[in-house]
């Protein structure tokens, strides 16, 4: 006799395969300094850092409903903290990166207390004001070069590794590590109790509040985590550039507009979306960047068309049609047949 039992499962064959393939890809990427050229490694590092920013923005907007257009505040803050710690306190850049993240999370506390008073779209512009305040404030700090910015002293850069190729490999691994760290943190956060609450808030704020979820506290926690990790990413971005200025550090196009486009094109509210988005974004950029401003025009049009025609993005649309999911996040009922 055959009985059918049901159980709830998160993982599936697809997610298990994806995990194995993912680990293989990461292993291949770790080995990049032995197989990739200098230019390729720079491009890959940039992709990893954009992936990290995109995942964090997606966590804010796609899961916590906090649509920020001011994440450049934390990118720039992290960059400046790296420079300040390395130049004034003699801290090694490798140590300064997590410290910059910590300081970013700390500074996000008063920021959140203030701008959480604004709702929806006004919250978005409020975050932008904060980024402007950061930019104008750092432009006043003459010890860090004021409005024209400053470079990381050669001695500090040399101190990171013995030779140039080792240094390049180190910054590459740091960028890869950052992207992996962000993906792991967000994955674990979404699988935890907090993640369940966040998913509930995303689906309906009113309903989740009636179940006793403290919406303000959950949003606050997510905002602080995202700020800290964004600041760490910012520190890495400017460790690669070796030069920082207020206009580059707090640039709304580079650190927010592009990031938003990546998430929207890839698929907001999914963990896979930003990964797809980064690949598409860099493919577009590498093929069209010779066009200059026209490229940005095209990017703007693509983002609007995706938002209007496929608001869930490439991955979201695919997921809707096929139910495909690479990260085991949602729960599904599995039918077990057993012979008795």
């Amino acid at each position: 006799m055959t009985t059918t039992t049901y159980s709830i499962s998160r993982s599936s064959t697809v997610t298990r395969t994806a995990a194995v393939v993912g680990i293989l890809i990461v292993a291949g990427l770790i080995a990049a300094p032995w197989w990739a050229g200098r230019a390729d490694m720079r491009l890959l590092s940039e992709m990893f850092l954009y992936l990290s920013l995109a995942c964090l923005w997606n966590l804010l907007a796609g899961y916590a409903g906090l649509v920020s257009v001011g994440q450049q505040a934390f990118v720039g803050f992290g960059g400046y903290m790296l420079f300040a710690l390395a130049i004034f306190a003699g801290v090694s850049p490798i140590v300064a990166i997590p410290l910059a993240g910590l300081l970013g999370a700390l500074v996000a506390v008063p920021v959140a207390l203030l701008i959480f008073r604004l709702r929806g779209a006004y919250f978005a512009i409020g975050t932008w004001v904060i980024a402007e305040v950061f930019r104008l404030s750092f432009a006043q700090v003459s010890a860090l070069g004021g409005g024209s910015g400053t470079s990381l002293p050669v001695a500090i850069v040399r101190g990171m590794a013995s030779n140039r190729s080792m240094r390049e490999a180190t910054t590459y691994w740091l960028a890869l590590g950052m992207a992996v760290l962000v993906l792991v943190v967000i994955y674990l956060l979404l699988r935890s109790r907090n993640g369940l609450a966040l998913t509930a808030i995303r689906d309906s704020e009113v309903a989740s509040e009636s179940f006793g979820i403290d919406i303000w506290r959950h949003k606050f926690i997510v905002y602080i985590i995202a700020a800290g990790l964004t600041a760490m990413t910012g520190a890495l971005i400017f460790l690669q550039k070796l030069r920082i200025s207020p206009d580059a550090a707090f640039n709304v196009n580079d650190w927010t507009a592009f990031v938003i486009f990546i998430v929207v094109i890839g698929g907001i509210g999914t963990l896979e979306g930003p990964i797809i988005g980064v690949i598409v974004f860099f493919l577009l950029r590498e093929t069209l960047s010779d066009l200059g401003t026209t490229y940005l025009l095209i990017l703007g049009v693509v983002a609007i068309v995706v938002m209007l025609k496929a608001p869930k993005g490439l991955w979201g649309t695919l997921k809707e049609r096929t139910g495909l999911e690479l990260f085991p996040l949602s729960r599904r009922v599995v039918k077990n047949k057993s012979e008795k």
């Binding site: 257009v69 008073r117 779209a121 006004y122 512009i125 104008l136 404030s137 401003t293 940005l296 209007l308």
Partner: protein, 287 residues
């Protein structure tokens, strides 16, 4: 005396900021849409004014008669063609679409007009001033702009609370489906609201272009000034928005008087201060 002068100039500047803000406030009130590209539309209007003045050889103030209807028409088409599709419970689509528009306008202007700063000349009125007792001078042009700003706010106030169009605006703002049951075409009303918003933007843009030099990248900064004026004044209150603009203008000028580098910072700090002390603004009207 410098201080009094700074305050007076700040008040006059506040009128321009109120014009930046009024269009933003209007469309938020009617359809809960925040237009991230608002500042870029202001700059677009300034460039449009520049083209009209240089092609026809007329004063920028006369150019308003062409720029205002052009921007209003653009607003209507944009609302019906694109933005209406984004409206709903989710705030993300309108935000991202207008963000995309902002990038498109900025880079489109860059392509056509290059990154060079431009300025419009309004002729001898620019340097005319009225002498006040105690070594104070008030520029005629800033004063005219301030008075126009007050008149525009008064006009919007009248449209909103005294006209049939305003009744339609308030009806769709309160309850969209009931308003439609009463025979209003929501899409059309929203189109008119955006047209009115961009008509005000056109005036603001041309004034901006006469007052200071401008280039394609300054839009977002203008959006932020307008936004700050709205929040300081209190959501949904047009006269409050005018006062918000004045507070912002005066703070900026006082900041600049202390240290030129603090001009913008002082304005932002005034905004954050109001947000900390009175999160709903000084004279709130709607939630």
């Amino acid at each position: 005396m410098d201080w009094i002068n700074a305050i007076i100039q700040g008040i006059l500047l506040g009128g321009l900021y109120a014009l930046f803000a009024a269009g933003l406030s209007l469309i938020f009130g009617v359809m809960r849409l925040v237009n991230i590209a608002h500042g870029d539309f202001i700059v677009l209007a300034a460039f449009l004014g520049l083209s009209v003045t240089s092609v026809l050889g007329i004063s920028p103030l006369l150019a308003l008669f062409l720029v205002v209807p052009a921007m209003a028409g653009l607003g209507y088409v944009l609302q019906r063609g694109v933005l209406n599709q984004t409206l709903g419970d989710d705030i993300l689509p309108p935000l991202l679409v207008t963000f995309g528009l902002s990038v498109i306008i900025q880079n489109g202007l860059l392509e056509i007009y290059s990154a060079d700063p431009q300025k419009m000349s309004a002729g001898p009125i620019e340097t005319a001033s009225i002498a006040l007792p105690g070594d104070l001078n008030i520029g005629v042009l800033p004063l005219v702009m301030f008075l126009v700003a007050v008149a525009v706010i008064a006009g919007l106030q009248w449209v909103f609370y005294r006209s049939a169009l305003g009744r339609a605006f308030r009806a769709v703002s309160d309850k969209q489906d009931i308003a439609e049951l009463m025979g209003l075409n929501k899409a059309h009303v929203f189109g008119l609201a955006m047209a009115l918003s961009l008509a005000v933007v056109a005036i603001a843009g041309v004034f901006l272009g006469i007052r200071t030099s401008f280039d394609p990248s300054i839009g977002p900064g203008r959006l932020i000034f307008g936004f700050e004026a709205v929040i300081i004044g209190g959501l949904g209150n047009l006269w409050g928005t005018l006062i918000g603009g004045i507070i912002l203008g005066v703070s900026q000028n006082i900041g600049a008087q202390i240290n030129p580098g603090w001009q913008l910072l002082a304005g932002h700090i005034a905004f954050l201060f109001v947000l900390a002390v009175r999160p709903r603004g000084l004279f709130p009207r709607i939630d």
